[in-house]
């Protein structure tokens, strides 16, 4: 194909995109959303005190600001993407467009490009506003140096979290299961899978439990602080078998390259820090450790010694019971990644909205999109419910319902707001995963479906 033809194609694609943006902007609905955000965001930055602390205020603002922007832009995307094509078909402008030298898939691509561009511009503007307001809140709040130092460490940062390697307990679980089976003690009302899952959980907890006078060692690889001398944070939560009288656990923590002890090193290359602490149970605590505790190969060990004085088994709950956090990137880059995760949602919704409006009228299409959006926002609950409801459906479930359900977006699983609030790192691999699953697979399948339908459908109305 000649370059001239390519250029012509791009020109017509761009014409459709530009027209879609003009339609959205002149439809007024976009304007209403823009005004809402322009008014609400600064108001929120001033009016939301959070828990009274500077950190609380920042967390509340970022959480609500990003949440609101996300919600409004998602709704705007749904409205614009379903309206733009459905109205072209209903109002028959499509007659004059499709009789021009533009292929139908190009027309759809132009529409998608328009909606996505509009989204990206609005997202960039509003995230810019949120970012600007967020970084200026500490200065405006008149907080002391110490508090500002605190939020710099705990909020204006992007901390990577490393969970300890989970010990493989499958062998032990299998043995236990077989033993129970032989003894006929398996609960009859539970499915084998559920029993196995419960046994696994019990065994894993056992590995994270320390009886009085014993110690637990967690080893971490690939601890790579943003700057070598940055501090690292050990974040933990105690659970106990018997509540201590003062609800406190006394513990000795050792953090550093523990291999130096094990293999009897002649001299210590990196320091091992020791902390004697008293912490309230069932609450998160953080131990701040100087960054030089990490070995040059990224190795770090965290040791907890349960002092006999406690007289109770100390358990670190599964999941977030114990993590090592370190500053891996700047707040700014983390914020940009959070915005890109929102962008992925918007792109999905834009593709989905246009795709369904290739064969549904505007009211039905918008309703479908809204249902999918809200379902996707609580996908975990929906998936679990479906799993539960469809027990015994067998192949029909696996081959018919499951593939359709799998196309549902899982917005709640990719929620960047939580990460911003807890200053957790959003990794590039996470972003890649979000784009890969949500855009390259799910949105692409739905999009191709829409393109195929639109290519072969009759766009004119039946009038006789």
């Amino acid at each position: 194909m000649s370059r001239g033809q390519e250029k012509n194609k791009m020109r017509s694609l761009w014409a459709v995109a530009k027209n879609t943006i003009a339609q959205a902007v002149r439809m007024k609905v976009a304007v209403i959303f823009i005004i809402l955000l322009i008014v609400l965001l600064p108001l929120m930055s001033m009016a939301m005190p959070g828990d009274g602390t500077l950190k609380g205020r920042l967390q509340t603002f970022v959480s609500y600001g990003l949440g609101l922007t996300n919600l409004l832009l998602c709704l705007l995307t749904i409205i614009v993407s379903t309206y733009t094509l459905a109205s072209d078909i209903k109002e028959c402008q499509i007659y004059t467009v499709l009789t021009k030298p533009i292929r139908r898939f190009q027309f759809l691509c132009g529409k998608l490009l328009g909606v996505v561009l509009l989204d990206l511009v609005l997202l960039a503007v509003f995230c810019g506003v949120i970012y600007g307001l967020t970084v200026s809140i500490p200065a405006m709040s008149g907080a002391g140096v110490e508090e500002i130092e605190g939020v710099n460490n705990e909020f204006f940062t992007a901390r990577a979290a490393l969970a300890p390697i989970v010990v493989d307990v499958s062998e032990e679980v299998r043995e236990k299961y077989e033993k129970l089976q032989q003894q006929g003690q398996l609960p009859a009302q539970l499915l084998p899978a559920k029993v196995l899952a419960e046994l696994t959980r019990q065994k894993e907890l056992e590995k994270r439990a320390a009886a009085p006078g014993t110690e637990l060692v967690w080893e971490f690889d690939n601890v790579r602080p943003f700057e070598p001398n940055d501090r690292i944070f050990v974040r933990f939560k105690y659970d106990v078998s018997v509540n201590p009288p003062d609800l406190n656990v006394y513990g000795r923590w050792l953090v550093g390259d523990y291999r130096q002890y094990q293999f009897g090193a002649m001299e210590m290359k990196t320091p091992i820090y020791v902390f004697d602490r008293k912490d309230i149970i069932r609450t998160f605590h953080e131990i701040i450790v100087p960054g030089d505790a990490v070995a040059s190969d990224g190795y770090l060990a965290v040791v907890f010694q349960n002092i006999p004085l406690n007289d109770t088994v100390v358990i670190f709950p599964l999941g977030e019971g114990l993590e090592v956090l370190y500053k891996a990137r700047s707040f700014t880059s983390n914020f940009i990644l959070a915005c890109l995760v929102i962008a992925a949602r918007l792109i999905f919704l834009a593709a989905f909205g246009i795709s369904v409006s290739t064969w549904l009228s505007f009211p039905v299409a918008i309703l479908t999109c809204l249902v999918i959006y809200f379902t996707g926002s609580m996908s975990e609950f929906v998936f679990e419910s479906l799993d539960f409801l469809t027990v015994g459906w067998g192949r029909f479930y696996s081959f018919v319902i499951m593939p359709v359900v799998k196309l549902l977006p899982q917005f709640d699983q990719f929620n960047p707001t939580e990460n911003m609030v807890s200053a957790r790192l959003l990794s590039w691999s996470f972003l890649g995963y979000v784009f890969g699953i949500m855009i390259c697979i799910k949105a692409a399948i739905l999009w191709i479906l829409g393109v195929v339908i639109f290519t072969y459908r009759e766009v004119a109305k039946v009038t006789v």
């Binding site: 003009a22 339609q23 006789v464």
Partner: protein
């Protein structure tokens, strides 16, 4: 363009539009046949002709057009447009289409609308700008170029719709009810435009149920009823009445009239001489133009401007502008035929004289010509030419329609070229006012 036209004229196998047993049946939700909208249609439109698709409401005209443009899929048969599939961009790039209503984006201004369609054709910025200005001038909406199309009246929207159909300088123009919503002047302008486009070698498919429009501009027509082709052929051949003759002259003295009557009576016997009636369209245009000349205030469309889109020389230059980039300016494959004028009294005027008419005062004709005539030089005070007797007498509209249909259904397609009279078509308004009188026995 020229070569193809000439080629297509010579080989009858190449058509601008060709359908093969084209059928469209609308089914209901259960797949049961509901309506046969188009029934085994074999339509053939030659290159470089103005083809009229006629029929009452619901006869399948618009459905046929939608099928031609692939907006609907045929149930059976197929359609070739410009020798190919109308979904192919290389084919659609050569088509201009005005749908039955001007389906435009309400939020775009007139200029933005044309720019949008220009971009769809991949026209570069310079060419686009030039054509947009030319077209806005042509449809007389330059002053309203920045107004949103949604605020336009139906007629104004129609003009923009027509402009968008012309932005690519199409070889084939498909017009579905182009004159609906237009005032008589706008209607006249569109008809004149169609004639001029035909002169430039374009093919026009005109779909209408307004018989007067079709009769004025079409070379060939087809009549649809119930989705079936009832009759098709050359307009002139279908409407010609060989058993009658009509002669038009300037003002004559009573003495001369007596002499003519005697000659005719000696020859054939029956003859009636009256002053011809002016056509209502011509009369309307004249009155409104006079009002405009007196600068009478109006909140409606300004005639001088709206007339501008086809007025005399400007129309010529606008069309030139539209065509110029492709390097073809005055290509008229059969221009000689189309622009043929009958300069004076025909040699055979004395024979078969049945009717002698009075010509309206010269100034009326000149006003009209200044508004719509693109080709004809203006000063020709009295012209005599032979005209065929009107086949559609100005009786009651229903009667007229009926008689045409009756005659058409009786007629068969006649391919004779010589019966085509483009002399009156090309000039449009320099056409003499038709007599409304039917000759007496």
């Amino acid at each position: 363009m020229v070569n193809r036209n000439l080629q297509s004229e010579s080989t009858d196998s190449q058509y601008a539009i060709e359908t093969f047993t084209l059928t469209k049946i609308f089914t209901d939700w259960w797949g049961r046949n509901k309506v046969v909208a188009v029934d085994n249609l074999d339509l053939k439109v030659r290159y470089n002709e103005v083809f009229g698709l006629l029929g009452p409401n619901g006869s399948g005209k618009t459905t046929t057009i939608k099928l031609l443009l692939s907006l609907l899929h045929p149930t059976k048969g197929r359609a070739l447009v410009l020798g190919g599939d109308s979904r192919e961009p290389k084919i659609t790039a050569r088509i201009g289409f005005l749908p039955e209503e001007s389906y435009l984006y309400r939020y775009l201004s007139a200029r933005e609308t044309l720019d949008f369609y220009g971009r769809l054709f991949g026209l570069n910025a310079k060419l686009r700008k030039m054509r947009i200005e030319a077209l806005l001038e042509m449809v007389g909406l330059q002053a309203m170029a920045h107004r949103a199309v949604g605020t336009f009246s139906k007629g104004m929207a129609r003009r923009i719709g027509l402009a968008q159909a012309l932005i690519n300088d199409p070889e084939l123009l498909i017009l579905d009810e182009p004159t609906t919503g237009l005032d008589p002047i706008g209607t006249r302008q569109i008809k004149d435009l169609i004639k001029q486009l035909a002169d430039r070698g374009k093919t026009v498919l005109l779909c209408s149920h307004l018989l007067a429009d079709v009769e004025d501009v079409c070379d060939r027509i087809a009549i649809l009823y119930g989705g079936r082709l009832q009759s098709q052929g050359r307009v002139a051949a279908l409407l010609e009445r060989a058993d009658k003759k009509q002669i038009t002259t300037g003002a004559l003295s009573a003495d001369a009239i007596e002499k003519i009557k005697r000659v005719v009576q000696a020859e054939a016997g029956q003859c009636e001489i009256t002053s011809p009636m002016e056509r209502l369209e011509t009369f309307f245009v004249r009155i409104v133009t006079e009002a405009e000349k007196q600068a009478q205030p109006t909140s409606g469309a300004v005639i001088s401007k709206s007339m501008g889109f086809l007025a005399a020389k400007s129309a010529e230059s606008i069309l030139d502008k539209l065509v110029a980039p492709e390097g073809v300016i005055h290509s008229k494959p059969d221009g000689a035929k189309r622009n043929m004028k009958v300069p004076g009294p025909s040699p055979g005027a004395a024979h078969g004289l049945e009717e002698v008419r009075d010509i309206k005062p010269v100034q009326d004709e000149e006003v009209l010509r200044s508004l719509t005539d693109a080709v004809e030089p203006t000063s020709r005070p009295v012209r005599k030419k032979e005209t065929k007797p009107p086949t559609v007498p100005d009786v009651e509209p229903e009667q007229a329609g009926k008689s045409i249909l009756e005659e058409l259904s009786e007629a068969t397609e006649n391919g004779s070229e010589e019966s085509l009279r483009r002399d009156s078509d090309a000039g449009g308004p320099d056409d003499e006012p038709r007599t409304g009188e039917k000759q007496d026995a």
